[in-house]
C-alpha cells in the first residue's frame, strides 16, 4: 500500500515538474556543498597526514619567524650557525642539521622558471633529510659530500609532469641547467615523494646554495633535529626553546622562532581546514534550511491546488491518515530526490576539484575521500528534511473537511 502511495506521490511531483525542480534547488545546492567539501576536506586531511607521517615522530623542526610564513622569505631574523651548534649539544638531540631554502631563477635551454632550491646538509644531516622526505633517485643518484655545482631535481621539475611548477622540456641526468646564472649538472632525478612541495624542489649542496643566493655563512632557515630514541621529545622541545630564548634574547611568549613537532603542524593545518569547512557548513546549513522552507511552501501550495482532489479521495474512502501519508511521502520524496541529485553533483564536484588540484600541484595525493556513509547520510538527511518540513502541510491536508474540500472551485 505504501508503494501505491509513493507512486501516487511521485505522480504528483511529476505533474508539477518545474515547481518540484525549483523546490529542490536549495537542497541540491546544500547537499552538493556538504558532500563535495567534506570529501575534499577528508582527502586533504589524509594527504596532509601522509605527508607529515613520513617525517616521523622523532623529529623537530625549528624555523625563524612565527612559523606560518614560508621559510627563506627573509622577513624573520634568521637562525644562525651558532644556534645550530648549541642545539647539537642539547641533551636528547641525536642529530641537528641546518637547511636553507630559497627561490632562484632556473634556466634550461631557452626555458626559464622560478624554482625553489633547497640545501642538502652534509654528514649525518643528509640521512635525516633523505629518510624524512623519502628521497630516492629514480635516475642517476642522490647528492653526496663534496658534490660541487651538482643538483638533484624533484619529480615535478624535470618535465613530463602534469604540474605547473616545472619545466615543459624533459631534463635528463647529465644535462646542464643554469641557476642564477651559474651552471649546474643534473646528477639525479628524484622519485615522486608524495609531497608536492618536496617534488618541486631542486637540491644542491649547502655551500653552492650560499654562493648562488648570496647567503651569509652564518644563516639557516630551518634546523631539523632528530631526537634520541630514549629521549622524551617534549622535554627536548622545551629545552631547545629555553636555549633559543636565551641565545636570541627573547622573552617567553615573544619568540621569533618556532619549534614544531610534525603533529603540531598537522594540527595547525587541520584547524585551518576546519575553519574553512565550518564556513562552508554554515552556508550549506542555510541553503538546506532555505530548501526546507521551500518544500514547506511548495507543499502548502500543493495542498491548496489539490483541495478538490483531497475531497474526492476522502469521498472514495481515504482516511485523514491516508491523506497525511500521501503528502508526507511527497515531501519526503522531493527531499530525497534533491538529496540524491545533490550527492551526485557533490561527488562530481569533489572528484573534479581533486583532479584540478592534482593538475595544479602535481601531487597524486590530492584525492576526494568519498565515504558511502556521507552519501547515505546526506540522502537520508534530505529525506528527513523533506518530511519534517512536510508535516505541517500534510496535517493541514488531512484535516480538510470532505464536504468543504469537494466544494472547492477547481
Amino acid at each position: 500500500m505504501l508503494i501505491d502511495y509513493a507512486k501516487f506521490a511521485f505522480n504528483g511531483i511529476r505533474n508539477r515538474k518545474l515547481r518540484s525542480w525549483l523546490t529542490m534547488i536549495g537542497i541540491i545546492i546544500g547537499i552538493t556543498a556538504v558532500v563535495s567539501l567534506i570529501s575534499i576536506g577528508q582527502g586533504l586531511k589524509v594527504a596532509i597526514s601522509s605527508q607529515f607521517g613520513d617525517i616521523g615522530t622523532d623529529k623537530l623542526t625549528v624555523t625563524a619567524s612565527g612559523g606560518l610564513g614560508p621559510p627563506g622569505t627573509g622577513v624573520a631574523k634568521p637562525l644562525t650557525k651558532d644556534n645550530l651548534e648549541k642545539i647539537e649539544n642539547v641533551k636528547g638531540v641525536k642529530v641537528a642539521a641546518g637547511r636553507l631554502i630559497g627561490s632562484a631563477k632556473v634556466e634550461y635551454k631557452d626555458e626559464g622558471i622560478f624554482g625553489n632550491v633547497a640545501s642538502m646538509p652534509g654528514g649525518d644531516g643528509r640521512e635525516i633529510m633523505e629518510s624524512s622526505f623519502d628521497l630516492e633517485a629514480k635516475k642517476g643518484r642522490l647528492l653526496r659530500d663534496g658534490d660541487k655545482r651538482k643538483v638533484v631535481l624533484g619529480d615535478s621539475i624535470a618535465g613530463e609532469s602534469m604540474a605547473f611548477s616545472g619545466f615543459e622540456k624533459k631534463i635528463d641526468t647529465g644535462s646542464k641547467i643554469m641557476i642564477e646564472g651559474e651552471e649546474f649538472e643534473v646528477v639525479g632525478l628524484l622519485e615522486k615523494t608524495g609531497s608536492f612541495t618536496v617534488d618541486a624542489l631542486i637540491f644542491m649542496e649547502e655551500d653552492d646554495l650560499r654562493e648562488v643566493l648570496d647567503i651569509s655563512n652564518e644563516e639557516y632557515n630551518i634546523i631539523m633535529i632528530q631526537v634520541h630514541p630514549n629521549a622524551d621529545i617534549k622535554i627536548v622541545d622545551e629545552d631547545i626553546e629555553k636555549l633559543l630564548r636565551k641565545e636570541r634574547d627573547v622573552k617567553k611568549g615573544e619568540e621569533d622562532f618556532t619549534v614544531q613537532t610534525p603533529q603540531a603542524t598537522i594540527d595547525q593545518i587541520n584547524s585551518a581546514l576546519f575553519a574553512v569547512q565550518l564556513f562552508v557548513y554554515i552556508i550549506a546549513a542555510i541553503s538546506i534550511l532555505v530548501g526546507g522552507i521551500g518544500i514547506m511552501n511548495t507543499m502548502f501550495t500543493s495542498v491548496l491546488e489539490r483541495t478538490k482532489d483531497i475531497g474526492i479521495m476522502k469521498s472514495i474512502g481515504a482516511k485523514n491518515s491516508t491523506i497525511f501519508t500521501l503528502f508526507f511521502i511527497e515531501s519526503g520524496l522531493i527531499g530525497s530526490v534533491g538529496g540524491i541529485m545533490g550527492a551526485v553533483f557533490g561527488i562530481a564536484m569533489a572528484t573534479g576539484l581533486a583532479s584540478v588540484g592534482r593538475l595544479l600541484l602535481g601531487s597524486e595525493l590530492i584525492r576526494a575521500e568519498i565515504s558511502i556513509w556521507l552519501i547515505l547520510g546526506s540522502i537520508f538527511g534530505s529525506f528527513l528534511l523533506g518530511t519534517i518540513f512536510g508535516v505541517i502541510p500534510a496535517i493541514r491536508a488531512s484535516k480538510l473537511n470532505p464536504v468543504d474540500a469537494l466544494r472547492d472551485a477547481k
Binding site: 500500500m1 501516487f8 476522502k314 469521498s315 472514495i316 474512502g317 485523514n320 491516508t322 469537494l406
Partner: protein
Amino acid sequence: MKKNIIELRNVWKTYRMGDVDVNALRGMNFDVKKGEFVAIMGPSGSGKSTAVNMVGCLDIPTKGEVFLDGKNIAHLHESELAQIRGRKIGFIFQTFNLIHTISAKENITLAMVFQGVPVDKRNKRAEELLNKVNLSHRINHRPTEMSGGERQRVAIARALANNPDVILADEPTGNLDSKTGKMIMDFLRKLNKEDGKTIIMVTHDESLAKYADKIAHLRDGIIIKES
C-alpha cells in the same frame, strides 16, 4: 417486507455562515429500503445535497441519528466514516469529481488502493468495470480527454469499485445533455434492477423521477411529501 438500509431520524444540520446559522436540514425523517431506487427532488438550496452527504458519511448531523444497515453513524470517528465511505457507499456527483492527473483506470483503482486491494485484483476489477460501462477503449485516458458522458461513466465505475450496497447520485445528469443523461440513467436503473444496488438520486428533472420507486420531495430541510 424488506428492511430499511437507511434511516434518518430527526436529522438537523446547521451551518454557520458568519453570524447567521443556516439550517440546511430541520428534523428530517427518511427511510430507504434495501434495493430501493429513491429520487429526492426539491428546489435549489432545500438541503438535498446535505441529506445525501449525511447518508454518505461525508458529513455528520448537528442533531439526530443516521442509521446505515442498522448502525448509527452520527457519532463515528473520522476513520470509521472513511471506512464506510470506501466500502459501503458509492458516490456519483454532478461534476463527476474525477482526479484529472491520473487515468480512468487509476481513478478506479485508487478507490481500491484505500481498501488495501492487491494490485492485480484491482487492475482486473477496474478493467471489468470499465468494460461494464462500455469504456474499455478509454482505460488509459485521462478525464480531461473525455466527454462528460464518458467521465460520468468512469465515475459510475469508480463508485462500484468496492462493490458497495448503496449508490448516492447527486444530480448525476445535471451537467449532461438529455441523450447522455438518459444513458446514465439507464446504467443506474440496471444497477438497481440487476445488481440490487440501493440508489438514492438527487434530481431536478421530473422526467428522471420516473426511474425511481419512490420520490421524496424536500423543502427547507424537511420532507414535505413522498410519492
